[in-house]
């Protein structure tokens, strides 16, 4: 629906951060989790700040379930589910119903999950639940509709390739996990897409789009008991399918650095550097979140000081993100710069990442007068994460998305007190994470510079 539609999911802070404090937040908030007989896992979070209801279903299907021959099938199916109709409604009828009920309606595909979301005025809760049941578990697949949606996706692929950062990020993922299904492009490849038959898609759909492979999160203005009854009524009738999901293996380490140099009709230079990181269930993820903030978020983070400090004004902007997948993770550095600085900026960025293992992050690590002038990147990162957690509570749809995804990605049973864990991260932890993941020789580097005249 918009340019951000099928991005890989955001930083882990928007997932885990939301889980722990459910009971400690605003007055009047209640939550309940349960599993239906058909295996659908459900979490409800009742809050009355706005007369809206937000429903997000996370289906355990992504590029991890694809092969070279079916690359892009999850994303194709995501489009089809949203726009092409069910056994009882055509695609146009679904679209008409969405508009009639004032709904926001969208979906995202990633390496692990396909996530479907709808937000409606609270009085339309029954419609939204029935709509999501219908599109997710009652799809009518035809070759004609599939071919039509492929054309739309081919346009989407062109659009991504025109965007230096989106294409650069996609290339990082495709090269960071060689030989692993996480390396398949989320959007697929044009040739593979064209060859996909309705039977292929139907088989994929029947196997993965089942209640036992789905988690449902509902956040908003409802009565929790009444909504539980309604959910049991709407989703409880979906047949039970036996399914034993086999999680993907951990990707093998990248054997060597990969550099990809692109020329485009651009005026600015764009640099993306990717390195492997801890996965969603790795205890190191907390230190990875803090490190990402310290390096590339907020006012004057370490990467800005390294690449823009003093006379080394090598970049215009620079930032860092960290994505946690179920079986892997990735750090991504993004920079915009004068194209003539590309070579120097690339070398300096790589060199700095290798030096992170020796970096001082906290004021407490300095002595005497130096302490007075030191930047406390650790304290800054902790506060950045505190504000992110606070802000996450302001968006009902964001909360629902985080909860649904967490149900699917989390493998630990112990309660997670995210901010306590963040507070416990030490400068030594940060250096260790830096040494383990960023000081490696095996990274992916993508550069985009103006085409030679």
């Amino acid at each position: 629906m918009n340019k951000k539609r099928a991005y890989s999911f955001g930083s882990i802070i928007f997932l885990l951060a939301l889980w722990a404090p459910l009971e400690s937040q605003e007055a009047g908030t209640k939550d309940k989790s349960f599993t239906l007989d058909n295996g659908l896992r459900v979490i409800l979070l009742e809050r009355h700040n706005l007369p809206l209801i937000n429903i997000v279903a996370a289906v355990n299907a992504g590029t991890k379930d694809e092969t070279e021959a079916t690359s892009g099938i999850t994303h194709l199916l995501e489009h089809y589910v949203l726009f092409r109709g069910t056994e009882i409604r055509s695609g146009n009828e679904v679209a008409r119903d969405i508009r009639r009920h004032g709904a926001y309606f969208n979906a995202h595909t990633g390496q692990d999950l396909a996530v479907f979301e709808i937000s409606v005025p609270a009085e339309n809760a029954a419609f939204a639940l029935n709509n999501q049941r219908d599109i997710l578990f009652n799809l009518k697949l035809t070759q004609a509709d599939l071919d039509a949606e492929k054309e739309v996706i081919l346009e989407e692929i062109r659009q991504i390739e025109d965007d230096p950062f989106r294409f650069g990020s996609a290339l990082v993922y495709q090269n960071l996990f060689p030989g692993h299904p996480y390396a398949h492009p989320v959007y697929g490849r044009a040739e593979t897409l064209k060859s996909l038959k309705v039977e292929d898609v139907e088989r994929f759909y029947r196997r993965l789009f089942i209640p036992a492979n789905t988690a449902l999160a509902v956040v908003g203005d409802f009565d929790i008991a009444a909504l539980e009854t309604k959910i049991r009524e709407v989703f409880g009738t979906v047949g039970k399918s036996e399914f034993a999901p086999s999680p993907p293996a951990k990707p093998a380490p990248l054997p060597k650095t990969i550099e990809i140099a692109l020329e485009r009709d651009v005026e600015e230079g764009y640099l993306v550097i990717g390195a492997a990181g801890p996965d969603y269930n790795d205890r190191n993820q907390y230190a990875a979140d803090v490190l990402t903030q310290a390096l590339g978020q907020g006012i004057s983070p370490l990467l800005v000081q390294a690449l823009r400090g003093g006379r080394r004004d090598l970049v215009n902007t620079v930032g860092m993100s960290y994505i946690a997948l179920k079986k892997a993770g990735a750090f991504l550095l993004y920079a915009t710069l004068d194209p003539k600085n590309m070579s120097a900026a690339k070398q300096e960025a790589i060199s700095y990442l290798r030096r992170v293992r020796n970096e001082s992050f906290s004021k407490e690590e300095f002595l005497g007068e130096e302490k007075q002038f030191a930047y406390d990147h650790l304290e800054s990162a902790r506060n950045e994460l505190r504000i992110a957690v606070e802000k996450a509570w302001e968006s009902g749809l964001g909360l629902a998305q985080s909860l649904a995804m967490h149900m699917m990605l989390n493998e630990t049973s112990a309660p997670i007190d995210y901010l306590d864990r963040i507070a416990a991260v030490s400068p030594t932890d940060l250096r260790q994470i830096g040494a383990k993941y960023l000081s490696r020789n095996e990274i992916v580097v993508v550069t985009v510079v103006p085409r030679k005249k």
Binding site: E26, F105, A122, Q159, G298, I299
Partner: protein
């Protein structure tokens, strides 16, 4: 769930944003600076928007970029001690220069708000106009303009702005041009700052878990530093030039991209409450996702992934554009298909049922857009800057509900006049 008992969508809607607290209040400081405040305890975060009226409209001939440059200079952190303090307290601050105003948004944990504001307003109220700082900001603006130019959609949108408003005021990039930036002198920047950064020309919009008295005390102590002006400065009109050659022609811009940007735009009158509501309905009906008129270009004609309608509503005028991004080989077909939909829209307008559906969608969209503190502060600030007033925030739904089929269809016929259309295609050289 008592709200549901009203059975009236408007009451339901208007109450929605203020369940946890009262609606926004309009107040003022002793020096005349306007304050719009809403208490919201959803999070321990405070958002403050500092709005300075003027924006691009106040830029003189060949002064493109002045509003951004002056505002950016006003928040340039002067020393490492302050930078360290802001960093450790996780202050988020952004700056935007817009057609009719510039705005600085501060967002931070409420526990740090008072300390941060003490330092921040000291900088803003007494900026350093030095050559080194100005040169660094110019360089930053050059980069941002280049990034803008790397996106075909941005290039197309800017071409539409320039077509309707010429190469002054609204018609330029907020980052100016290479030439205009070089031509801006320290005196120009200082004059702009002294003229527009005065109490009577600034509005503060705060959404916070702090209560009103506490917030007003903090704001008063800090923003009291700004001079009380006898009257708000006059801002030149940025009305579109009648001499511009808008007559249905197509402007082509060569760019070697994989998708061509195809756009058709129509001018809008100066913004008013009714006009804003009418145009919002048009935008929602024409191209805001599944089921809207333009959506057929995607699902049925298979011409695009990205297809939408976008209204740019500014104080002294604006435009609405319908656009899609398509395979360059389908450029001509896409342009013709887009025009057919716009012709049909103009000729037949919308049905009563379509109008009611648009109203429901628009009001729900407004709720979602204003759910977060930052989103709400931004809307309130924009409404104030456009002259619609912060109270339009609660009146918007009523304004939308009052619109009848005849009124919206008359608006469509007037706006979508083919003789006033301007078409832009950004794509590979033929």
């Amino acid at each position: 769930m008592k709200r549901r008992a009203f059975g009236c969508l408007f009451l339901f809607f208007a109450a929605g944003l203020f369940v946890r607290s009262e609606g926004p209040q309009k107040l003022s400081l002793d020096n005349g600076m306007t304050v719009v405040f809403q208490q919201d305890k959803a999070s321990a975060v405070t958002v403050l928007e500092i709005q300075i009226r003027g924006g691009q409209a106040a830029e003189g001939a060949a002064q493109a970029g002045l509003s951004f440059l002056a505002t950016r200079l006003g928040i340039d952190i002067p020393d490492n001690t302050t930078a360290r303090d802001f960093m450790v307290k996780a202050l988020h601050y952004t700056l935007a220069a817009r057609s009719d105003y510039s705005v600085i948004q501060l967002e931070c944990l409420t526990v740090f708000f008072e300390d941060i504001l003490d330092s921040f307003v000291k900088i803003l109220s007494d900026p350093l106009f030095t050559g080194i700082r100005i040169d660094r900001i110019r360089e930053y603006m050059d980069h941002q303009r280049r990034i803008q130019a790397d996106d075909a959609g941005n290039v197309g949108h800017l071409a539409q702005l320039t077509a309707f408003f010429g190469d002054a005021g609204y018609g330029n990039s907020v980052y100016g041009t290479e030439k205009s930036l070089k031509g801006l002198k320290t005196k120009d920047i200082k004059d702009f700052y002294e003229r527009y950064f005065v109490a009577g020309n600034m509005t503060l919009t705060a959404v916070s878990d702090l209560d009103k008295d506490r917030m007003m005390s903090i704001l008063g102590r800090n923003f009291g530093k700004f001079q009380k002006s006898a009257a708000a400065p006059a801002i030149p009109s940025a009305a579109m030039s009648s001499s511009l050659p808008i007559s249905g022609e197509t402007q082509r811009i060569d760019k070697d991209v994989l998708q061509s940007f195809v756009s058709s735009a129509y001018p809008l009158p100066p913004v008013s409450r009714r006009g804003f509501a009418l145009t919002s309905i048009v935008e929602n009906t024409l191209g805001r996702g599944p089921g809207t008129r333009l959506w057929a270009l995607r699902t049925e004609a298979k011409l695009a992934y990205n297809v939408a309608a976008l209204a740019t509503q500014m104080k002294d005028g604006g435009f609405i554009e319908a656009f899609l991004e398509t395979d360059p080989g389908k450029e001509k077909e896409a342009g013709a298909a887009l025009e057919r939909i716009l012709d049909d829209f103009r000729e037949h307008g919308v049905t009563a049922e379509e109008l009611e559906i648009a109203k429901i969608g628009l009001k729900a969209q407004f709720l979602r857009a204003n759910e977060t503190k930052a989103g709400r502060a931004s809307t309130l600030c924009t409404f104030e800057a456009l002259g619609l007033g912060a109270d339009f925030f609660t009146a918007f739904a009523r304004e939308v509900d009052e619109i009848a089929p005849d009124e919206i269809n008359n608006h469509i016929r007037v706006v979508f006049d083919p003789a006033r259309a301007h078409r832009v295609v950004v794509g590979p050289k033929r």
